[in-house]
Symmetry: C2
Subunit: 294 residues, 2 copies
Amino acid sequence: MSDLKEYLSQRCHFVDAALNRLIPDADTRPATLHKAMRHSMFAGGKRLRPILCLAAAEACGGSIDDAIYNACAVECLHTYSLIHDDLPCMDDDDMRRGVPTCHKVYGEAMALLAGDALQALAFELVTRTPIAPLHPVAVMVLELARTAGSLHLVGGQVADLEGEGKKLPLEDLRFIHEGKTAALLTTSVRLGAMSANASEEQMQALHDFGMATGLAFQIIDDILDVTQTSEKLGKSAGKDVEAEKSTYPALMGLDASRAEAHRLTEAASRALDVFGDSAVRLRQLADYLLNRDY
Amino acid sequence: MSDLKEYLSQRCHFVDAALNRLIPDADTRPATLHKAMRHSMFAGGKRLRPILCLAAAEACGGSIDDAIYNACAVECLHTYSLIHDDLPCMDDDDMRRGVPTCHKVYGEAMALLAGDALQALAFELVTRTPIAPLHPVAVMVLELARTAGSLHLVGGQVADLEGEGKKLPLEDLRFIHEGKTAALLTTSVRLGAMSANASEEQMQALHDFGMATGLAFQIIDDILDVTQTSEKLGKSAGKDVEAEKSTYPALMGLDASRAEAHRLTEAASRALDVFGDSAVRLRQLADYLLNRDY
């Protein structure tokens, strides 16, 4: 596990350095906008999605240098969605990753626009991926756009908002979790694989891995919201209960939720059988996400 | 001119029909989100950007059927930016195109998310453009992403907000107008041309045409904000004075502003010389934008 910590730390630095190169400087006009974008991009994110993207590329025999643009793209998309989620008209959160949210520092209008610009930047970065003959950039953009759009990321957010104060059936909760979380985790590994010119079999395996890992990730997130302190999480704990959100713990209890996350993580690991040893990091990452306490 | 009216009406219907096909139905889950997206997309927009996109494709010898995806993409991007501009934390506008703004009907959170989803949809639509050998979809996406991002559309919006209450030098006002308006008009004609496999010379000519037409368009917009009623404009008039915004009329007076818009429209027309007769519609459109009264 100390080997995994070292690996995560190195990859986090690699992603941070690339993001620093690829996002306009804080003194590029309009300076306040670029400062606001950088505030949220460099607020201590764990870079899980880009690290998954890079690990998937390596599992397919590709290089992290080719995958880095897609890795940064998914992180830009993720960060934009957090900035907008934190706005007063949405979750109204003051803290994220242990630091004040974008709108607390730069005001609502600037936070809204910083998020908008980060979504555009995500698509720009995808186009910088070196040519992978089996997966034209158009297909990569399509993958990211569908995940970002009304049927997945935004759609899940809407269903989540509309579900507040209601006891949702498990099927609806799954729609929310797939849209809000699993879709982008899946796209992260798939975009890494595409940059590595992955086969159809590998793409399907990573789809199954991403969906299972993503659902497990969100169930653990729901559990941590109940069991951990705000200090530990770096964001407000207990928000789900406060907003009367349906969650796995609320619907099936903590023990059954933990068992379901375990089951999904095992399914994710099995989906990687086609890779053999080249997917060892992906397996470790899935286990790490399952056993995290923040 | 009655011929142009007929042309605009036909093209508007052609674009509307395509948008209706390409945006998820109002009963697709989450239904409220798709209703909100459709509310703003079908609120009586004049479809100037998509019509310019289609006309540029034809000027380059291409077909409107190939250009329609990019045409709809620029309209989705434009509409998303209007929805976000109208939000309370931005311009706080209740009416747009003569109907209540998205957040007045669906609430702030839903309007924010409808805008977010329309930006993603814009990129999805670009990927559906049929192959044009000289202009890979990656280059089209890059064009749209840069225009949408922190250096142009969003950047211009930020500079506009930050300039409220200050008397800006003309150079700064030009930065705002280029970012907020001219960049997307230019990208509209360039994306149409790309779908028609345009030459480098044609692309450059359309760049010059778009920038000049876009600046003229914004100057006229500033003039109409002073001289027209809210009823005629379908949105609140006099907002620029109220927000103490720098505008061309404020900086150089109405007559000099009108003269500058004329000069720019003539420059736009000259830029089209390389096309000969095939650009007749683009020339008419530039004149139409110059002489509009709403």
